[in-house]
């Protein structure tokens, strides 16, 4: 404990010495216990002084150093590096701010500033006397990443990680990959179809040795933490053998007597219990929907690939990081919301997109030809009364694009857009001007006065008080009413809950900091990407997926992680385990453990972030934060009090 200390007091070229009498400070502290060297210097951060400090430390075997200069924000790390060059432990270095917090703050009172500087330096000396050498907490990190969700974001992240040489397990809950994009036809900006985009990604990833794709797979438990997550996955079988005869299977599908609504087409069509995911089907073979299958055996009779003996599997993987790409749900309007489920001419935007894709030459819906289409915007988004206050971002562009595609594909279509103000941000604006040029009609409702859908003489009418014509009531007869539904967070948030991912006010997963750390979560080692974090278009989803891939890669690339050693420490003798600390910890870093005959609290070193929230709640004062222990704080108070 008897340290040999070096103390350096900086003039900062007058910034300090003009107001603080640095010589007086030196004289006041040079006889403090442990101080071996006390010096003043014109510029502590200057090269010459740094060299001198390194020599001082080496020649005199100093094991504690204090520099009194500017804010530690500027030079704490500079001097930590200096002490390391002198072969001293950098945590035995204490920085004192006598510029921003003394000379400058009290430039009106030189004597006061000097007095304060003396006490600040003394308190730093008191602290460094008690400081202990610390070493980064090193944990090994499995060089593998689990990507949850095989939509475009998840697939793209998996490919990028694979490019970086990192093994990936890509986990998809559905039996087919591609997520939402697989359901879309022609996409905005590239004019590719969703199918093409998904095909390209699937073909790229499926032959890569370092990507394992699991479909029909759900994460059921997770243990461990950054560097070493132990993820258990339940994989449900397809009940179809991988190598199968297409012709026989088609006949088997025809033979299946069960019909259920087809999710892929947002329930506007039906499918069998044994089904293809047409047209974007990857992996390219069907599935038996075991929940709806009655085991009648018709398919088995026709096709030898059907295999009801396949069993559910539990797979356990160990990864250093988890990348979330679980996507979104489309808002489902309430019954009667703009006539939804009340009038059969009212559908949602995703349904509409499937209808355009499925129709050819003539646009018909429920047997009737469609010519006049009304689009009602912001359904389920920007709600005045409902919970979804946010704007869903992608829908204005998406619906305008769909409306243009409809006109291109079918003759005699008239589009009416009932909007709440068009938000085709950025270059998407061009699409909006194209749409206007093509003769689409735009109307806009007042915020609190949405359009009304009603039925008159067998016709569907949509009424609006239109801002753009000075509030005139306008009524349009519609063959089809498309509710432009927004993105909502996944209703089924089992994975999120399992991983304890926090959600924001909008109920999407929340990042640590929108600007500084947009893909990281408070759970170390877990990153988020794509629309599970908030509404995004494809490009934005992919950008965030690639950002998350880099971040996840950085957790695992070196095979090792070094964590800051400033963490909480339990005094085993004092702890009586009441659980208050575990409750106060925002990171779940504290658990109970057996020590000889009693329960005590145990800190998980790789999870603790050193915030100290557990300290004040301990009824027996059994927790201290390293570098901020009672001894250290109290000795600093002693010094500042001048006792």
């Amino acid at each position: 404990m008897n340290k040999k200390l070096g103390v350096y007091i900086c003039h900062c070229g007058g910034n300090i010495s003009d107001y603080v009498d640095v010589e007086k400070v030196k004289q006041a502290v040079e006889n403090e216990e442990g101080v071996f060297i006390a010096k003043t210097t014109i510029f502590a951060c200057g090269d010459a002084n740094q060299k001198e400090m390194v020599d001082d430390i080496k020649n005199n075997n100093l094991d504690g150093v204090v520099v009194a200069s500017c804010s530690p924000k500027l030079h704490l790390l500079t001097f930590r590096a200096v002490t390391e060059r002198g072969n001293m432990n950098k945590y035995n270095y204490v920085h004192v701010n006598i510029r921003e917090q003394a000379s400058w703050a009290h430039s009106d009172n030189k004597e006061g500033a000097t007095e304060k500087a003396i006490l600040l330096v003394k308190s730093a000396i008191a602290k460094v006397r008690l400081s202990e050498p610390l070493y980064p907490i090193k944990i090994s990190s499995k060089k593998a990443v689990a990507v949850i969700g095989a939509g475009v974001a998840g697939m793209r992240a998996a490919i990028e990680l694979s490019n970086m040489g990192c093994p990936v397990t890509l986990i998809e809950r559905d039996h087919f990959v591609g997520g939402r994009v697989a359901q879309w036809d022609v996409l905005f900006t590239t004019n590719q179809t969703g199918k093409e985009l998904v095909t390209n990604l699937y073909n790229d990833l499926i032959n890569r040795k370092n990507i394992t794709l699991l479909t029909g797979a759900e994460v059921i438990s997770n243990a461990g933490s950054i560097g070493d997550f132990k993820v258990r996955i339940k994989k449900t079988p397809r009940y179809i053998k991988e190598k199968c005869n297409d012709g026989h299977l088609l006949k088997a599908i025809q033979a299946c007597p069960i019909e259920v609504p087809d999710d892929f087409n947002f329930n506007i069509t039906n499918r069998k219990a044994i089904y293809h995911n047409f047209p974007s089907e990857y992996p390219h073979y069907p599935v038996i929907d075991i929940k709806n299958c009655t085991r009648c055996g018709e398919c088995e009779k026709i096709c030898e690939s059907v295999d009801f003996t396949q069993k559910e599997e539990i797979i356990e993987i160990e990864v250093g990081s988890i990348l979330m790409a679980t996507g979104f749900d489309s808002y489902t309007p309430a019954e009667g919301e703009f006539g939804y489920q009340k009038f059969d001419t009212v559908i949602t935007l995703p349904q509409f997109k499937r209808i355009i894709d499925l129709n050819d030459k003539k646009l018909t819906f429920k047997g009737k030809e469609v010519k006049s289409i009304v689009y009602i915007y912001c359904v389920g988004s920007r709600q005045i009364d409902g919970d979804n206050k946010y704007c869903s971002r992608y829908c204005c562009t998406s619906v305008i694009h769909a409306a243009i595609q409809t006109k291109k594909k079918f003759a005699n279509i008239q589009n009416y857009h009932f909007t709440r103000g068009i938000r085709t941000y950025g270059k998407q604006e061009i699409l909006y001007s194209d749409s206007l040029k093509s003769g689409d009609i735009y109307l806009q409702s007042y915020e609190e006065d949405p359009p009304v859908v009603l039925r008159e003489n067998g016709n569907t009418l949509v009424k609006i008080n239109d801002i753009l014509t000075g509030g005139k009531e306008i009524s349009v007869k519609a063959d089809l009413v498309v509710l432009v539904t927004g993105m909502i967070p996944r209703k089924d948030n089992k994975v999120g809950a399992l991983l304890k991912l926090p959600k924001g006010r909008d109920n999407f997963f929340n990042e640590i900091h929108m600007k500084l750390r947009p893909v990281e979560t408070v759970i170390d080692g877990i990153t988020i990407s794509g629309a599970c974090q908030g509404p995004k278009n494809i490009m934005e989803s992919v950008n965030s997926a690639l950002s998350a891939a880099t971040k996840s890669f950085s957790y695992v690339s070196k095979g090792m992680l070094a964590l800051e050693p400033i963490i909480a420490r339990i005094d085993k003798n004092l702890c009586t385990w009441c659980g208050a600390c575990a409750e106060a910890c925002p990171f779940d870093a504290i658990s109970v453990e057996k020590d000889e005959n009693k329960d005590i609290a145990a800190i998980n070193n790789s999870v603790c972030k050193g915030c100290g929230m557990c300290l004040p709640v301990c009824p027996v004062n059994a927790i201290n934060l390293i570098a901020y222990s009672d001894n250290e704080i109290e000795s600093m108070i002693d010094a500042l009090a001048g006792v």
Binding site: C12, G13, G14, F43, C45, G46, D47, K73, V152, R156, E160, N163, M164, L187, T189, T190, Q192, L197, L201, K389, Y390, C391, R393, G421, I422, R423, T424, Y425, G426, K427, Q428, E429, I430, S433, I467, T469, G470, G471, G504, R505, D506, M514, K515, L516, P518, V519, G534, P535, M539, E540, V542, N543, S544, L546, S547, A549, T550, K551, F553, S554
Partner: protein, 433 residues
């Protein structure tokens, strides 16, 4: 100019030291690659470091930029050239780019300057401060702004009268008028283009009177007035130093306007204007703020809620197109506009008008690369060859675009785009040719 070229090589060359370039450089360097950032300004941090607070979180821009900026400048894997320009980049072959860089003299030895500002005090010259968008003056020997990185003085040689006062007072003798322009020949395996954007200059719309009416400001000038490193102690009209109490915002100035050649939406102006309106209501509690808009585009995470908050605070939103601005004798401004809700032309008086200027491409992008062409899109932003599957890819293999180089975007999108570009650059570097 020294005739000798200095040769060095790096893994990645990042052009632009704003937040997109900085984020890309950090990602690359944290994965063990050696990066060179070329910044044309005297300080890194781009436009973000000069902003007041950022939407929708209202955290202080400087406070979140400065730690990032110091992380970049301290990183052992990152070399930064400030006050430097790319003369040309030529792709020789895969993984082999050759860049000619010109480094202009600062006339100050960066390593020796302590940022004490004594030179600044001594300098007798006053000229408009570009970092305060000309609202106030600066010296010819100056530190760009208090949180600049590096926080090192520079001599503005064009405006310097060579009186020698700065040199006499410098305690570390770091002022050096013998410095010369240097030329470097740099080899790199991949290039990230993070050249950022330019702001629309409203002088191009004469009917708004910017330039001649002194109380018509750009939104960037207002941004500076609201920032912690602001030019005045309070919000003032530049025309007569009056504390304004009735301010108007004109959205879409230089955006969505084919007559000035920019048909696209700038994506950020609605939100920064709403943010400034909220900050103004905090700074000037008695003031009225009116925002004239075509559509409010509050589309991002938390944006719509932020817009509602502004309405709740009493910011007046008028859906209207501004025809013409005229100035009264007392410096107040008359806005003639078409009120769309009421379908008629109206006039209103404000004592200060802020033009919410849009985002334009950086013209440098056209001349960076010689030989193989870096293709631009119809709006002159860097063209994205695969906007959906690989948004940062450009027409040259191995060159990736980050941030507003490819189009208007806000800070979170820029950071994500930078993450995307650096991710592809890392893959490109790891995959053996």
């Amino acid at each position: 100019m020294s005739s000798e070229k200095i040769n060095t090589s790096f893994d990645a060359l990042v052009i632009g030291g704003g937040i997109a370039g900085g984020e890309s450089a950090l990602n690359l360097a944290n994965n063990g690659f050696r990066v060179l950032i070329i910044e044309k300004d005297l300080s890194i941090g781009g436009k973000m470091i000069l902003l007041s607070k950022v939407f929708p979180s209202l955290d202080c821009s400087a406070c979140i930029t400065t730690p990032k900026v110091s992380e970049i400048s301290r990183h052992p894997g990152i070399t930064i050239f400030t006050n430097s320009k790319v003369k040309s980049i030529i792709k020789k072959s895969k993984n082999d780019f050759e860049a000619e860089i010109i480094k202009y003299p600062r006339y100050v030895i960066t390593e020796d300057c302590t940022g004490c500002q004594l030179c600044e005090e001594a300098c007798p010259v006053i000229i408009p401060d570009q970092y305060q968008y000309n609202l106030v003056g600066r010296k010819a020997a100056y530190i760009p702004f208090s949180i600049a990185s590096p926080r090192v003085a520079a001599i503005d040689i064009e405006n310097c009268t060579l009186c020698g006062a700065c040199e006499k007072v410098c305690p570390t003798n770091c002022i050096d008028f013998t410095q010369e322009t240097e030329e470097y020949l740099i080899k790199a395996k991949t290039v990230v283009v993070a050249t950022g954007f330019n702001l629309f200059d409203p002088i191009k719309i004469p009917r708004f009177g910017f330039g001649s009416y002194k109380n018509v400001l750009t939104s960037m000038q207002m941004e500076r007035q609201l920032a912690p490193t602001r030019p005045f102690n309070t919000i003032l009209r530049p025309g007569d130093a009056k504390v304004p109490d009735n301010l108007a915002y004109v959205l879409c100035t230089g955006s969505r306007d084919v007559t000035i050649g920019n048909p696209i939406c700038s994506q950020i102006c609605c939100m920064y204007s709403i943010k400034q309106a909220q900050l103004l209501m905090g700074a000037l509690p008695m003031a009225d703020v009116t925002i004239y808009y075509i559509n409010i585009r509050s589309f991002g995470k938390g944006f719509e809620e932020f817009y509602s908050q502004a309405k709740g605070m009493g910011v007046d939103f008028i859906k209207g197109k501004i025809g013409k601005i005229t100035e009264k004798e007392n410096g107040n401004l008359i806005l003639r506009y078409e009120d769309i809700n009421e379908n008629k032309v109206k006039e209103s008086e404000h004592d200060m008008v802020i033009l919410s200027v849009g985002v334009l491409p950086n013209p440098d992008n056209a001349t960076l690369f010689h030989g193989e062409e870096l293709k631009l899109d119809p709006f002159s932003f860097v063209n994205q060859t695969e906007p959906l599957a690989s948004p940062s890819r450009t027409s040259i293999e191995g060159v990736f675009a980050a941030g507003t180089a490819t189009g208007p975007m806000d800070i979170p999108d820029s950071i994500l785009s930078a993450g995307s570009a650096s991710s592809e650059a890392i893959s490109y570097l790891i995959k053996k040719p």
